[in-house]
């Protein structure tokens, strides 16, 4: 039965892999600097590693927003997010899995009468805005550094491109790891409080219930990358601003850094230990961070050929996606509970 209920989460994972892998390897594959086969293998391996090793931080934050404690509720919340993502994508509207799942959880809170933690919600929403801005800032700084180095070093264009090609692969691996660790919460976060799987003891390491779910979610994302991301990757690149290979690498690194910052438990603990304010561990939209990074480079280069409608798309996504997902979640929970008589929340 558990296998059936987590299908909605796995479907979300699949669609995340199909769409978001293009943010990591799209430019490299689209420009044929890296083959799709190589990109898909690297992205799949590292996305699973990221989800498995570092997925707990962002899931905890989503848990604070709304601890969906019945598997029927988890299924419905993930399904509502998946329907939102699917229907908005079909209508060519900008959508983010992150914002959809948050809206769906709030829908669950409203339906079950659980209070939404205002502090956590503020933390999450603030990150949605600061993520793209931070991505843009990282991108400009890295781009300036790379340009300065290229000019100073006088490396042959072909050799430089070979470095960039290797850089794209390394940055892509880091990007996939960060995507897995940050976005696994969107896929499996709502199932963690509701499912308690037996611990798998391998002798040298014990894998808990949460990590097993993260592993499954990671595999679903990897399947999305392998089966459906090729077309997205091959068409990505000219949406906002035509990217050179070095700009593409900078965008991938910036995006990876932002996703890593908002999902690294170790970094958060380190900052805490030093008495500094810790970074909130929140799932952020990789697509929106990529758009922020590309816009940062575009603005640095004089803002020619920029597609400012994309900026409006991000703002629309911040508002429309959670609202739509919340409404779908609310009515779906009502339907599941009253028609199928499946519990969507357990009494506290």
């Amino acid at each position: 039965m558990i296998a059936f209920f987590i299908t909605s989460g796995l479907f979300l994972g699949w669609s995340l892999g199909a769409n978001d892998a293009a943010n990591i390897f799209g430019s490299a594959v689209g420009s044929r600097m890296v083959t799709f086969r190589k990109a898909a293998i690297i992205a799949s391996v590292f996305v699973i590693l990221g989800a498995f090793l570092q997925g707990s931080g962002t899931s905890d934050t989503l848990g604070k927003l709304g601890a969906v404690n019945a598997i029927g509720g988890s299924f419905t919340v993930a399904l509502a997010a998946a329907i939102t993502v699917y229907s908005m994508t079909r209508s060519s509207l900008p959508v983010s899995t992150t914002q959809a799942i948050v809206g769906a959880i709030i829908g669950w809170n409203l339906y079950t009468g659980n209070a939404t933690d205002g502090k956590t919600l503020t933390q999450i929403v603030t990150t949605w805005i600061s993520g793209p801005i931070l991505g843009g800032t990282f991108a400009v700084l890295l781009y300036m550094l790379l340009k300065w180095y290229k000019r100073r070093a006088g490396i042959h264009m072909i050799r430089f491109e070979s470095y960039i090609r290797n850089g794209l692969i390394i940055a892509g691996a880091f990007g996939a790891f960060s995507l897995g660790s940050n976005n696994i919460a969107n896929v499996m976060g709502v199932f963690v409080p509701a499912i308690d799987l037996p611990v798998i003891d391998l002798g040298f390491v014990a894998i808990g219930s949460g990590q097993q779910l993260f592993l499954l979610g990671g595999i679903a994302i990897a399947l999305g990358i392998i089966t459906y991301s090729k077309r997205v990757m091959e068409t990505v690149g000219s949406g906002i601003f035509e990217l050179s290979s070095e700009a593409a690498m900078v965008v991938v690194i910036s995006q990876s850094l932002v996703l890593f910052l908002f999902s690294s438990v170790a970094l958060s603990n380190l900052l805490n230990g030093m008495g500094l304010p810790s970074i909130p561990l929140v799932p952020v939209s990789s697509s929106q961070v990529v758009i922020g990074s590309i816009m940062g480079i575009g603005l640095y280069k004089g803002a020619r050929n920029m597609n400012y409608r994309m900026l409006g798309g991000i703002a629309l996504g911040w508002v429309a996606t959670p609202v739509i997902a919340g409404v779908i979640s609310y009515f779906s929970l009502f339907f599941i509970e009253n028609v199928f008589e499946i519990a969507v929340a357990l009494p506290k």
């Binding site: 420009s31 044929r32 600097m33 264009m157 491109e161 070979s162 050179s244």
Partner: protein, 216 residues
């Protein structure tokens, strides 16, 4: 990674060798014309064979570079322009070979009073090509310096035009005893020599645009 590094190194060497061939071709062309003007046909023939070998080698390298760049997907966004650059640069050595062959086959009768003018024209026209080669090398390492390097190419091309017009004026207006057929033949030879700097200017125009694209 090692495969990339090896391919990259080999490809850079091929580019350098290709440009070396064009550069040496220009030197051989100068020496070939000098030999002809000094009446040393044997030396002219030797230089002609040399330039033929250089041109053949340049063609071979051009094909290898294009093949490597396609197979290993190198510089995918700039590849078409790089191919055009190679093609037009190859036209320079083609032109030098063609001109020297014409001189060897047609044996133009160049009056003694024009020999120095012809030598000067060969020197100036070939200099446009000479100045172009470092500019092409610069494009691959420090593209923002390309414009500075190309100034001399445009200068020598302009000088070639002026000198050529001067020589033609001399032939057609100040040498009444020279037969019209010989005058026409000399004009034809002048046109051949001139075309080296014209080809260099074509490449310079292309290179200017390519460098701007890379810098932006």
């Amino acid at each position: 990674m090692a495969l990339f590094t090896r391919t990259t190194g080999l490809l850079i060497n091929k580019f350098d060798e290709f440009l070396d061939n064009v550069e040496v071709g220009l030197l051989v062309f100068r020496e070939g014309v000098k030999s002809y003007l000094h009446g040393d046909r044997e030396s002219l023939e030797r230089h002609l064979r040399k330039i033929e070998a250089l041109e053949e080698k340049a063609d071979k390298l051009q094909k290898e570079i294009e093949n490597d760049m396609i197979v290993h997907s190198i510089l995918p966004k700039d590849r078409v322009e790089v191919f055009r650059l190679l093609d037009r640069t190859d036209e320079i050595i083609d032109t030098t070979k063609h001109s020297l062959t014409e001189i060897y086959v047609e044996v133009p009768d160049i009056p003694d009073e024009l020999k120095d003018d012809f030598l000067r024209l060969v020197e100036v026209s070939a200099s446009a090509g000479d100045e172009l080669i470092p500019a092409i090398r610069t494009y691959f390492t420090t593209p923002y310096l390309v414009r500075d390097k190309l100034i001399k190419v445009y200068f020598f091309e302009d000088e070639t035009d002026k000198l050529s017009t001067e020589i033609k004026t001399k032939i057609f207006q100040r040498m009444p005893d020279l037969e019209l057929a010989k005058k026409a033949h000399l004009r034809y030879v002048l046109h051949h020599i001139e075309s080296i700097s014209d080809r260099a200017q074509d490449v310079a125009d292309l290179l200017t645009g390519m460098a701007i694209k890379v810098i932006l």
